[in-house]
Each structure stands twice: as structure tokens, then as C-alpha cells.
Amino acid sequence: MLRFVIRRLGALAATLLVSSFIIYAAMYAAPGSPESFLVRGRTVSPEVLASIRVQYGLDEPFLVRYWHWLTGVLSGDFGESLATRQDVASLLASRIPTTLGLTAYAALLIVVFGVVAGVVAGLRGGALDTAVLLGSSVGFAIPTFFAAVLLMSVFAVTLGWFPVFGAGAGLSGRLLHLTLPAVALALPAIAVVARITRTAVVEERDTEHVSVSLARGVPWRVVARRHIVRNAMLPVTTIVGVNVAALVAGAAVVEHAFTLDGIGSLLIDAVQQKDFAVVQAVALVLVAVFGVVNLVIDVLYAVIDPRVQLGGESA
């Protein structure tokens, strides 16, 4: 297990290195240059432009600039924001807690509501099953930004139960402020997870080992827990993992809609302002989060299913 984790961490580092290069190269190739942002549309002489390029190191060859940036990142220096002249690392540090809270909240909602709804629908069947199927279709069909607007207008504006925007202060204030954004963010994933869970539970119900256990006189609730739900968690874990990893990227839309100061809204602003250093840093963080979540899922999978051999698997 430990060897597997170490090897996977090594693979994650390699992935980050490759993606850092791709991210840096993509920004380099993107239309619009940083110096044109810096002069903000003013007409400047070629001499001034040249001095700006020297000042920001823009006159150096691509690989040299990449190397400078990479060594900086490795020592925790993500550079400086072109727009605000702030240190990118501290900018990220101030924004990450909001996004982390939002995605953790949404992940909790996915696990609790998605898995529970799917298990109940699969075990009980009947009207409950139909309700979950219908609800999941609706939940999956609603775009996140629309869900955000809808939730705001119903629960924040009309009913006044939740604040409209901001991240709030203190633990309860934060939870209150993050509830609507987390629901909007989690909704499509809850729908997907509920549906996959339901299918997995229904499939497990029909397996022979379940009917064998029942035929041995093992009580239904024990069979449901130990044989049906537990085995159904194998595919569910994968789906939950993929959806939770995708939350960090999806957070951008929700943070923008609810004006939360997370890294998602930071990314949107930075892209609009061609704030290269910030975009690069945020993109790298997203890749890292994706990798870490997937690693956690793989380890979980091995814990749930003894047939998965971590040692023999190539990372």
C-alpha cells in the first residue's frame, strides 16, 4: 500500500511537470501579449516597450523563461500578478480556503444525497425509485449557472433563508453563505451519482450471492448492508471520485455567480486580464487537485475491493 502511494505520488509529480510545461507553452502561444496588457492600450514608443520587455524578462528565449518560472514555482515563488502586482502565492493562499470549503461542502452533498438517494431507490423500488430517476434527470439537465440563479432567486431573494453573495465570517456564517453555491455546484453530480448508485444496487440485488445469503436465512437488512450496498460501492466510488475532482474546475462558474472570492473566480478574472502568472498558478493547482483526488480514490478502491492488487498495478 505504502509503496503504491509513493509510486503514485512520483507519477503525480511527473504529471505536474508535464502539465506545467503545457500550461506555460499554451499561455505563450495564446493571442495577446503581456506587454500589451501592461501598456493598457496607450501608444508607447518601441524603446519603452523594449524596456518593459527587459524588465519582465520577456525578451529571453521561451525555454529560459520557462526554466526561470519552473525553478521559482518549485521554491514556492509563483511570480507576481501583472494586474495587481501582488505575490501570486499569497494571492492563491488567500483564495484557496473559500474554494476548498465550497468543494468540500459540495462533495459532502454528493456523497450524502447522491449515494443515499441511489441506495434507497435501488433497494426499495416502486414510487421512490421513479421519483429518484425523475429527479436525477432534472438535476442533470439543469446547467450550473442556471441552477445558481434559480437557487438565489428562490432561497435568497424570495424566501430570504440564505445570503445572496459573499463568503461569510465564522464557521456558521461560512456554512450559511456556502450552502446555496455548494448545492448549485453539486446538483448535476448528485444526479449522476444517484443514478449510478441505483443501477449498481439493482444489479447487486440480482446477483447469486445475494439470493444465496437470503436462502440461508440471513436477515434482509444484513444482506442489504453487507452484500448489496457494500458491493455496489465499487462503481460508485469511481464515479464519486471523478465528480469530486471535477468540482474544483466547476467551482469557477459558481464562484462567479455568487461572487465568492475563490480560485475559480480568480481564474476567470486572470484570464480576462491576461494575468499570465495567476492563470498558470491556478491551472497548476487544478491539475494537482485532480491528481490527489484520483490517488485517494484508487487507494479507497483497493480498501473496498480485495481483488484489486495495488502492488502489481502500474501507476
Binding site: 444465496v212 437470503l214 440461508r216 436465512g217 436477515p219 458491493n231 480485495p306 481483488r307
Partner: protein
């Protein structure tokens, strides 16, 4: 007094364009400690008969008739009473042990579950008993076996585990549905011997489903031959082998290649097996029977008892001499 009594069991499955009969009146008595073989081709209803005893027939099936276990009507029990009956008095051994065990639970969990969760026994005593039984069914390293997951054991080992689990609760009746069909030929006889030994040692009755008449003859006290959802003949292995009274039994015996005599071609029963729902008026075997007479085609044929055996054939008395097998091999049982 019989331990198990099946009384005119009929089973219909809903199907597009009307119900389909799978069992057309199966009646059978099993004495305590007696082993009865249910033999027949695929679709003859032998497994379905077993499932009506355990009440694990397919969803939507309509079953009529009575299943009495020690005088208790199994078919009319409520869910709680049925669960207690399954935990206490019945045990099932199915064809594929790999499908019978949950792949993500250890063998120990499977073994103990039938005692602790089903019967409310204490974990410690349950574990001691299944350990003893594992040793009895020929598992050398009991500790390793208990700690293994199903995918780490061979099919033969797993079926031993299933047999140990089945006898662990000392049930009155074992229901074995082709317990060796999914195994290698070399392990088949071993597993069968273990099953037979355990059954005798614990004094359990058994309903043994197989398509192999020879195998049934080796381990059963009596054999019921099924065809198209009905029993066509019941008798001891010796009776059936030397003097079958039903043409189908005779042909079934002949279609089995003999070890002593070499035949140019394997004898085959003409025609194809008839499903229970396809049977019209008259004898179900009429379409394939070489000894058919005009009266075989009309009117249901009753199962007639006599000489400690029973047969469902209009012409069994006339054909008695003709059906005798001259080269019948020696059969013990």
C-alpha cells in the same frame, strides 16, 4: 412420517401470450435421512422443484400445491417464519460456488454468516465449528482458507467451503443443485464423496438434482426421473438400472456410454426435449417414444405406485419385459 412432502406442485411463469407451466404436478415424499435424486434433461423442472421447497422460485411465478416440511406448510409461512426455517432446517448447495460467495468478503465471513446472522449464534462458537468442518471436508490449511477471498481459492476448494457452510447448521434437509457440474472432472468425484460422507455423518436428508443418472445412483437411496415438469418414474437405483418401467428412463440409461461394451454410435433419444408448457393432452413423452400406442396420445397419464416404485406410463405393464436391460451394469445403492 416423511420429513418432506411435495403434494401436486404446479408452477406457472407469466409469459407474453399466457402463462407457461414449468411444473405440472410434482408429488414426492422424502423420509428423514433419505437421499433422493432428481434426474432429467435441462428444463425438465428438477431445479425448479428444489426452488419451490426453498421458496426461491423466480419473481412472478405462481405456485400451487403444498410443500410440507415436518408437517409445516412451507409455502404459507410469513417472511419471518420462512427466514427461521431457512436458517434452521434447510441448506442449499448450488452449482457454481464462485457465484455463491460474495467476492469482496473473506471465506470466514461467509461461513460464519449462516450461523451468526441467520441463527443468532455467538461468533466464537460458530468459528470453532466451521473450523472443524473445514478440516473434515479436507481443507489442509484451515487458517489460510478462512482468511482468503473467494478469488484466491480453486472451484473445488470453494465447493468444499460451501458444503461445510451447508452442514454447519445441521439442517434436516440438504438441497443440492448439480453441486459438481461446474468443477473439474478430477475434483468432481472428490467433492461428491465429501458431500455424501458429510450427509451420512450428520444424518441429513437430501434432494440431489443432477442430469447424471449414474452419479445419482451412486449417492441416492431413490431416484425420481423428471420429464417436462412431471415425475415419470421413481425407484431405487437398482430397480431403475435393471428394470426401468418407463421408456424415457430406459432411453436415458441407454444414452449413457457404457464403460464395458463398445457401441458403434452413441444411442440418442430421438426428437428434442419437450418443455412442460408445450405438452398437450396425453403422455408428455409421446412425441419421442418408440413404444407409442394410440391411447398414449389422449388423456393424462397417472403416476401408478406398486412394488415400492412408481411409474407414469399406460403401457408399463405390457412393456415390462421389453424394457429390461440385459447388459445392465452392477449398481449398488
Amino acid at each position: 412420517m416423511s420429513l418432506l412432502e411435495l403434494d401436486d406442485i404446479r408452477l406457472d411463469l407469466p409469459h407474453r401470450g399466457g402463462d407457461r407451466a414449468l411444473l405440472r404436478g410434482v408429488s414426492l415424499r422424502v423420509a428423514p435421512g433419505e437421499a433422493i435424486g432428481l434426474v432429467g434433461e435441462s428444463g425438465s423442472g428438477k431445479s425448479m422443484t428444489l426452488r419451490t421447497v426453498l421458496r426461491t422460485e423466480p419473481a412472478g411465478a405462481r405456485v400451487t400445491g403444498r410443500v410440507l416440511l415436518d408437517g409445516t406448510d412451507v409455502r404459507s409461512l410469513d417472511a419471518a417464519a420462512l427466514r427461521r426455517l431457512r436458517a434452521r432446517d434447510l441448506a442449499m448447495i448450488s452449482q457454481d460456488p464462485r457465484a455463491a460467495l460474495n467476492p469482496v468478503l473473506r471465506v470466514a465471513e461467509f461461513l460464519v454468516e449462516g450461523l451468526c446472522d441467520a441463527r443468532g449464534e455467538r461468533r466464537g462458537t460458530a468459528e470453532r465449528r466451521v473450523r472443524d468442518l473445514l478440516a473434515q471436508v479436507g481443507i489442509a490449511d484451515v487458517d489460510r482458507c478462512m482468511d482468503s477471498y473467494p478469488h484466491q481459492l480453486s472451484g473445488g476448494m470453494l465447493q468444499r467451503v460451501v458444503i461445510a457452510a451447508a452442514v454447519a447448521g445441521s439442517p434436516r434437509l440438504l438441497l443440492a443443485d448439480e453441486p459438481t457440474t461446474a468443477l473439474d472432472v478430477t475434483t468432481q468425484s472428490e467433492v461428491m464423496a465429501i458431500l455424501d460422507e458429510q450427509r451420512r455423518e450428520h444424518g441429513m436428508a437430501m434432494l440431489f438434482v443432477t442430469h447424471d443418472l449414474e452419479l445419482a445412483s451412486a449417492v441416492c437411496d431413490r431416484i425420481a426421473v423428471l420429464y417436462a415438469g412431471q415425475i415419470v418414474e421413481i425407484g431405487t437405483p437398482a430397480q431403475l438400472h435393471s428394470a426401468p418401467r418407463h421408456p424415457y428412463t430406459r432411453l436415458l440409461l441407454d444414452s449413457r456410454p457404457s464403460l464395458t461394451a463398445t457401441t458403434p454410435t452413441l444411442p440418442v433419444i430421438p426428437g428434442r426435449p419437450v418443455a412442460a408448457y408445450e405438452v398437450g393432452a396425453g403422455c408428455a413423452f409421446a412425441t419421442r417414444c418408440p413404444w407409442i400406442a394410440p391411447r398414449c396420445r389422449d388423456g393424462a397419464v397417472p403416476l401408478v405406485e406398486g412394488d415400492g416404485r412408481a411409474v407414469r406410463c399406460h403401457r408399463s405393464d405390457e412393456l415390462r419385459g421389453e424394457l429390461v436391460r440385459t447388459s445392465a451394469p452392477e449398481v449398488t445403492g
